[in-house]
Symmetry: D3
Subunit: 191 residues, 6 copies
């Protein structure tokens, strides 16, 4: 998940993301989106972009645009949350070079960001569902949080099902716990 | 917000939605989307479709597809949640005719559905934000629920801001209260 | 039918129009034109634009472009001629503000413009055909004129039929009479 | 201007036309329309198609679709009216073979069709304007008629100008005279 | 095959080509490419452009872009090689005027360029195959060369067949001989 | 480079290929082709498809279509020839399963296929050029051959340069030698 930087003529910085499934990243081959992006892809790339922008002080980026390319080689489970977590890590690595080189202030880093999916499977909450679990879950929630415990995005989409407030609360707790683990194990040492 | 019905050759029914802003529905004219739908429009029409499908037993619709056209004449505040609430009412009216005519079972109606937006403005929760409030809110949540108090969709998107679990809980309570009012005042008598 | 104004860098002004049928403006739902405009829509928007430009001294508009949005909520009869007449009225209202505010000369108004359709139904000329009449007419003519009695556009399109010079003359007389009535009753007091 | 025939599964026949300017058919090179047809091209191809269909009894064509390709090699003057006249001739030649071969009834031919443009130049009516005349004309009318003297299409488009009823009558007379000459000299012997 | 010149703001010149089959240039009508160019068309226009650029010193063209339009009126045989040869001649004629007028140095002309196709038919090499020969050839080679005997492009595409080194050598010899004939007979007197 | 199989209703089989550069496969990020494929991409995918089809007896594939996805993760040198060689290997692996399972005859395999690029760098022939070499080569040739020593495709494209027959002969010898090495080392044991 590489991060690419471009100079622009506008003041202030920007972070954006692109997302694609390789045709054989899935069990059944998916078509390339060569004639316009699908609604699903646009929804996901916008979610990733908003989530990544919440992790950095855009005003300190200078007139630089960062593009994070999330190309999924193997799609098993929550590709949009994995894209947020991996994309945040890629941006940290790219920005650390610029911070160490003195071209960007170290205050560009806000509280570290990660994301995870959580579902209810036969009444049991399950974190980071794989493809088989995801297709049988009774409820499904994507959560983006930072290390400070603040929410950046929550998306609970219940196509064909509904969920109670109690289930929502359980899922939020699982998600928070999972995200803090992701950050402490994989993110905090590079951010 | 009219509902249109088409026969298909497939067994089972389907509900879908389309969404568009009229060019002068907004303070500053928006361009028509005549060369492909924007990411925002696709995101919204998918949300409306999923929400409406949760209000009906699709298996009882027969091989009928219902298209709900959400064309916004004046955009002041949460047009996506207004589209869900209004679209649900339009579908109820259309289906009541079919139920009364005997071509669809009255069990097609599940628990009535409505949606609302809620935000935090200078620390105070505000329901159903208008345009001016929406552009200054510190946090923003769209909620779709049914009369049974079950969640269908929640989308909290915090571009440029974050929100705590406590604020999320407050917003969820306001949303639930607002949705139940919408249903009891406007929806329950037609569904 | 709102008129929207934009500043441009070019000297001289311009007036243009857009046209769309809302999906349920018609008896049978029409598809949205989200992948390019149809030939019919392009033909109509060009006719409206040419007709509206004939009503004003473009050289006095300054470097302003006016866009008239003709979104048809209910399509019963001649929507293209109704768009010309209504669009002209909308432009007059918009320009009166600018003239009264002193930013545009009052000489921008040329002779007032209106449009009407006329057909032959079972041998009888009929003005301003509705949908049922239009689909049975033997001949069909759209006319755009100004109050001075000069023609701006005439379009007689006889798909599947032909019409004699005598019938054309009768239709032109009916159209002229109808247009002068439209202008004197609805247009002349606002232009 | 070749006519191409395709078999279809539908009962009854159809005639359609396509129109394009070769890039160097004009004094200043025009771009190819490879990303969707312009409004002008769509308007013209629809006019040609309607005009050609008025010259034949479509019910006698069998389930055949005829496509007339109007590719303009040199554009000097009224290319849309030349396309109607030439396209009618091409269709006659194609249909005569089918009539002589016995697969289509000779009653497929209705009254022969031709088209011409007429304008007013410094107060004088001018038939079949060339490019230089067309760009200076005060009024401009395209007329499609048959040998029986019936009108099929009239299009008077006065971008930037208007014309009186008297001028219209003069232009109609010139057009009728020109069309009857075209038919008697070039069309009647092949139809 | 006309050559069109445009001024650009960039230093140095450029030569590019466009290619299209008229719908009835072929035995069976081909569709117009109005919704994006096919792979075949793009492949051919790129080949023509590269070949033509090899015939001129681009640095001496000044900031001019030349567009060569290759519209095929009748497609019998190697239309891509005919487009190279004809396009080179068109460019020579256009550039001679500019050289004679003193705006471009006469050193802009490099060694003259032409192209030809060659195939193997029942074991016999055949130069400049026509449509009937081309569809039965066992091997097929397109060659672009200059008068100095240097290769500019060779494309041997053997869909459904293969060819030995010996056959390749024979085809190359025939191609060279044919190209030198084309240049000496048709090209050398205008370049 | 995975191979994907689809059943079709047509008799006989087919092999096709798709090709894309991941945005960061290159030193400078390339844009995704989401609004139609570029000419370069179409040219390459057609070359790969033709080359792969030459390696198999399509008539023995049954009504199956194989799609080979060539997504370049790191682009250093001849990606089109690497796609042919790798795509051939992927197809062999896929077909061996079908042959061993008895659904396809083992005679589906024709002579094994591979491809390589060769160039001239400061007068010295270089096989399988990397990016740095490729951008400085004086001549460049892509060759597709089979183990029997027959040519399937040769493409010598000399944008900005030309090459003599002697240089072409040298490059062909190097290419043949390289391809036979590729086949004997990497391909022959899996085909």
């Amino acid at each position: 998940m590489p991060a690419w930087m471009e100079k622009s003529d506008l003041p202030g910085g920007w972070i954006t993301a692109e997302y694609a499934l390789l045709p054989r990243s899935t069990t059944t081959r998916v078509r390339r989106e060569t004639q316009g992006l699908s609604g699903r892809t646009q929804e996901i790339k916008r979610l990733i972009g908003r989530s990544l922008r919440a992790g950095f002080n855009l005003g300190l980026l200078g007139n630089r645009t960062f593009i994070v390319d999330c190309d999924v080689l193997q799609a098993d489970g929550g590709t949009r949350t994995a894209s947020v977590t991996g994309g945040y890590a890629a941006l940290c690595l790219a920005l650390k070079d610029l911070v160490e080189g003195g071209s960007i202030s170290s205050e560009v880093f806000l509280s570290p960001v990660a994301a995870i999916s959580v579902g209810i499977l036969s009444g049991t909450p399950v974190l980071d569902l794989n493809y088989a679990e995801d297709s049988q879950a009774e409820a499904d929630l994507n959560v983006v949080m930072n290390q400070a415990g603040e929410f950046i995005e929550i998306q609970g989409t219940g196509e064909g099902s509904t969920f109670s407030r109690e289930v929502l609360d359980t899922m939020l707790e699982y998600a928070e716990s999972g995200i803090q683990q992701l950050i402490s194990k994989h993110i905090s040492d590079i951010s």
